[in-house]
Amino acid sequence: MKPNYTELFAALSPEAALIVGALLVVVLDLTLGRKKIAEARWHAAVRIALLAVGLAGCFTFASGRPGAEFGGAFMLDALAQATRYSVLVLAALSLALLPGTARMRHPAEFVAVVLFATAGFSVMATAQNLLIAFLALELASLSLYVLAGFDKTRPESAEAALKYFLFGGVSAAFLLFGFSLLYGLTGSIELNVIARELGAQAASPLLVVALVMVLVAFGFKAAAVPFHLWAPDVYQGAPAPAAALIASASKVAGFTFFARLLWSGTGASSGQAPAWMLTLAILAGASLLLGNVAALAQRNLRRLLAYSAIAHAGIMLLGVMTGTRFGPGALLYYTFTYGLATVGTFGVIAIIERAGRCQDLDDLAGLYRRSPLLAGCLLMFVLSLAGIPPLAGFFGKFLLFSQALRLTGLTGPAGWLAIAAIALSAVALYYYLIVLKRAFVTPAVAGTEARIAVPLKPALALLLAAALLLALGVFPSSALRLVT
């Protein structure tokens, strides 16, 4: 292989834009921003970062020549490009939430680490090689651990970051061990070679061990039961903008990466149902059940969102199963629209936290009187999470469930999982409506009736997320055409 660095740079120019943006943010803040007040530094840092993300989007558009790049290390197919766009949109929304809501010190560092994480997500979307994939995953994960623990004044933030880190470190070790076994079995770290070699050899115990190890890491990244324990603590303890990124963009990139790994890397074994299908079905069923039931018992809004995320992870795992036959469109549509709704919900939480506390469900009381804009946006996001038409959450669920039922009918696990997921959606509707009841019906507690001022940039981000949810829900086919 003769490396062609010009092509490599053309293929990875979006990530380069993000990294350069991150460095610029830090340098400019250290030189020009030293004497400014914190508010101005936040605005400046976010403006540069949004510019970098926008540039990365343009470069993604320009690097549209599909196919394998750099000797097969990167794959620029429709899935990769669509994932890159999704990740950039979600990262931009999380960044736009920052000015006026974040009260942490060191604005430039926070913004720079968000950009590093975004670059990691973006490389994860294109990686076609175990080494690149591992490095991208670690870049993203290490950045997210830092973001979760960024609020040094609150002990909860440090604790959330430590728990996230310990779970993540162990799962990274599992992933690396699984990768080493795949390398040993096939003699290669490139996904297409691995697929070819595995298709040629009989199933061995070593392959089972390798797959189990990869699935453990996947379960952690997706917060699927039984590897979900970090999620509620991190969602509760992390600063709201960091939690928004952890819950949205990280999910989209993680699912694309692992789905690609499972589909092209290890799924192509001679046409029959891949060996990981049943394991994935068990993970999905357990996540659906535990996520939805445990969310019912929550009094804390963020923990409720975390358990609902676990339930959604179950549905996304179903999407990984159906994607073997129907392509990645439905899975990516679901993860992206879920990410939009989650970023929006955490954005609402972040803005309420400016004025006071937003941890328990009761802290939402009287939101309709305190800020109609926030309450209206929250309505859109929560209804989309619940899957009410015409919002995008409904269409994502509809698409995934219909594909799961068509996959094997009721003879395979996917069909039954789809039916269970439909039944549990009714349970989910109950706890989502409880959130909305607090926001719209319950009167505000005495002493917290003051109206909430919504800063401009976060308000625009929320409105954009809500508009996207509505548009994607009304015109889903135009979004799906991007992926196929």
């Binding site: 290490l142 002990p155 440090a158 430590l162 310990l166 070790a173 390398y183 003699g187 603590d233 509760q236």
Partner: protein, 105 residues
């Protein structure tokens, strides 16, 4: 029964991985948990080296390159981990995991 060198290496790395996992799961001192995670990562590195050395084409050097990157990643991970240990020490004045119980439910 005689074992080949590759099998011996794999046995060693599996043992190392299990030891690391046990340490990560059972220790209450955060730094010892970090050590366990490092052991697990290094077990994977031993695997890569063994598969590279005894594999079909050792001249490609894929395994060695992977290990070099993995060591760098492990170092970065240790840096972040120790920073988080300091952050937690600032708040609870010790690094015992049993006392990190503010978030639960």
């Amino acid at each position: 029964m005689s074992l080949s060198s590759l099998q011996l290496c794999l046995l060693f790395s599996s043992a190392l991985f299990c030891l690391g996992l046990m340490a990560a799961l059972s220790r209450s001192n955060t730094i010892l948990v970090l050590l366990g995670v490092e052991l697990m990562l290094n077990a994977a590195n031993v695997n890569f080296i063994a598969f590279w050395r005894y594999g079909p084409n050792p001249e490609a050097a894929t395994g060695v390159v992977f290990v070099l990157f993995a060591i760098a990643v492990a170092a970065a991970e240790a840096a972040v981990g120790l920073a988080l240990v300091i952050a937690i020490y600032r708040h609870q004045k010790n690094i015992r995991l049993q006392e990190a119980t503010r978030l639960k439910g």
